[in-house]
């Protein structure tokens, strides 16, 4: 086993793990949260964009590490919760799961494909909205409605935004 070359000793996908500067890791989620908090005040039609979710998916896909995805999702979700008026943990739990599954998916597939990104963003948005609705009903007892068609449409829109957004965020990767 010791004769195996080093480039074959570790999984090939580990070599494509993207790294970011700390300022980007902190700044991008903060900007995403800020976008969701601030921009819909003036552009109400942009309220459908779930920027923190897209950033969570992106970082989880790029890090290819479920624990990192969990951490990203939890931090971004809790930050989003803390700026909302409902108890802390709702977005945190949902985004934790999104981060975990996104990172798990990235371990199986190459996440640099635009089509995969589109599909994943669509899927995770729908999952996020659905799971949030489940949690809100189950844990908080809130009788909020869930409209699948509208959610699907919004998922498409978010996916459409996610592809160029991820492309822009790719520029912030640290090249070794």
């Amino acid at each position: 086993m010791s004769d195996i070359p080093a480039q074959f000793s570790e999984p090939p996908r580990r070599s494509s793990v993207s790294k970011f500067k700390w300022i980007a890791i902190i700044g991008i989620p903060l900007t995403a949260i800020l976008f969701q908090v601030y921009v819909p005040r003036f552009f109400t039609y942009l309220a459908y964009l779930e920027m923190p979710l897209l950033v969570t998916v992106y970082f989880s896909l790029m890090r290819r590490s479920p624990p990192a995805g969990v951490l990203f999702g939890m931090c971004i979700g809790l930050a989003q919760d803390s700026l909302s008026n409902h108890p802390l943990g709702m977005f945190g739990i949902v985004k934790t799961m999104v981060g975990y599954f996104a990172a798990s998916v990235s371990q199986r597939f190459e996440a640099n494909s635009a089509v995969l990104r589109l599909v994943l963003a669509f899927f995770f948005f729908f999952f996020h909205q659905f799971f949030y609705w489940v949690l809100a009903r189950a844990l908080l007892g809130e009788a909020i409605s869930f409209e699948p068609i509208q959610t699907l449409v919004l998922a498409v829109l978010n996916a459409a935004v996610a592809v160029p957004l991820f492309h822009i965020l790719d520029k912030l990767k640290v090249t070794e």
């Binding site: 800020l34 479920p66 803390s82 943990g89």
Partner: protein, 376 residues
């Protein structure tokens, strides 16, 4: 255990994270209390950025708004400036017209009220080489103006004609040093000679030091110079004091106080007595003449009415004449007596009274034949 945790490291991390958050959630729901610390952190992290964003946004918006507003303001300013210039010109023109109208009206009123025969003239220029003490008026010999005639305004004397031409005349102003006119003071009846000083003031010469002249006292023309009729205001005393030989008295000319554009040239003077106090030229408000009966117009229109009835007496005369005409009576003829004044003329409404449309027509009264009526 360690093997299990290492084998299911990812899942363990997920479960741990979810459990922590579930506990957090449960704590909040059960205790109905917030986890304030996390919210404070998040808000503290987001607020400066939000403030920065808001500041940038408002600055940008205000910049563009101001920019576009200023663009509009610039155009608006140009338009307003043009409007202002035009309105100022119109205002000047209207003021000029109003002044002219008021002066003309004042002159007209003065002409009507005065028994003097005057002709109105307008200053059309200064005579060259005379330092502005001689001016040119637009009336000349064609209007009956001759040298030596007095020129006045309703406020006082202005000067005298020194030369006249067919269409214009030279007017020597009272401020010219060569001008002289006999004057008398209103209060103490002090006689003197009014002279120009070359500037805006006048002086009264040949008044003895023993005579009393008070500051503010009015001087009127005395009429002894045979140019100015007696009783026209000349000016008020601004300074009075004893001189070396005669008293030094300075006047402010009343005729030049409101500018000099329209004047009256006295063709035939009329001497008036020196008015008693109070001063004659203080402004007195005169109500317009009362309107004629049944005529809602003002007194001026009543004055201008074609009937010529200005007073109740005039109207009574007209009424009497109509009765006479209706009865074919000739006033003044001997032996015809007087008409029947109780008989109202058939087709004429006396005193412009409006007949009542609802009133029944009265049958003609059978009046007894008057002794004064002519018998057939």
């Amino acid at each position: 255990m360690d093997l299990i945790l290492n084998r299911y490291r990812n899942l363990t991390a997920l479960v741990a994270a979810i459990l922590v958050q579930l506990v957090l959630l449960a704590y909040q729901v059960k205790s109905n209390q917030e986890v304030r610390l996390i919210r404070v952190w998040s808000v503290s992290a987001v607020t400066p950025l939000a403030r920065l964003l808001e500041s940038g946004r408002s600055s940008t918006v205000s910049f563009f708004k101001d920019y576009f507003v200023l663009l509009d303001v610039r155009e608006q300013n140009k338009r307003l400036q043009a409007d202002l210039n035009r309105i100022q010109l119109e205002n000047q023109y209207l003021r000029s017209e109003l002044d002219t109208s008021e002066r003309g009206r004042a002159l007209s009123v003065f002409q009507e009220q005065s028994r003097m025969k005057t002709v109105a003239a307008r200053i059309i220029g200064n005579s060259p080489g005379s330092n502005g003490r001689v001016v040119l008026i637009d009336r000349g010999t064609g209007s009956g103006i001759q040298p030596g005639m007095a020129v006045i305004t309703p406020d006082g004397i202005v000067g005298k004609i020194v030369s006249s031409y067919p269409t214009a005349s030279n007017l020597l102003l009272i401020t010219d040093p060569s001008f002289a006119a006999g004057v008398i003071s209103q209060k103490n009846r002090v006689h003197g000679t009014l002279k120009g000083t070359g500037n805006s003031s006048l002086m009264v010469d040949y008044v003895q030091n023993e005579q009393t002249v008070e500051v503010g006292e009015w001087f009127y023309t005395a009429g002894d110079d045979r140019i100015f009729p007696k009783g026209l205001p000349a000016g008020t005393v601004t300074a009075s004091g004893p001189g070396r030989t005669v008293k030094e008295i300075f006047l402010s000319p009343s005729g030049l106080q409101h500018g000099l554009e329209d004047v009256l040239v006295i063709l035939e003077g009329d001497h008036k007595p020196i008015p008693e106090l109070p001063v004659p030229n203080q402004s007195v408000h005169l109500q317009p003449l009362p309107p004629a009966d049944g005529d809602p117009a003002d007194g001026l229109s009543a004055t201008r009415s074609s009937s010529g009835a200005q007073t109740d007496l005039d109207r009574e005369v007209q009424h009497t004449r109509r009765i006479g005409e209706d009865q074919k009576h000739v006033f003044g003829e001997r032996g015809r007596g007087a008409p029947d004044f109780n008989k109202i003329p058939d087709n004429k409404i006396p005193d412009n009274r409006v007949p009542d449309p609802g009133a029944r027509p009265q049958a003609p009264q059978a009046s007894p034949p008057s002794a004064n009526q002519p018998r057939p």
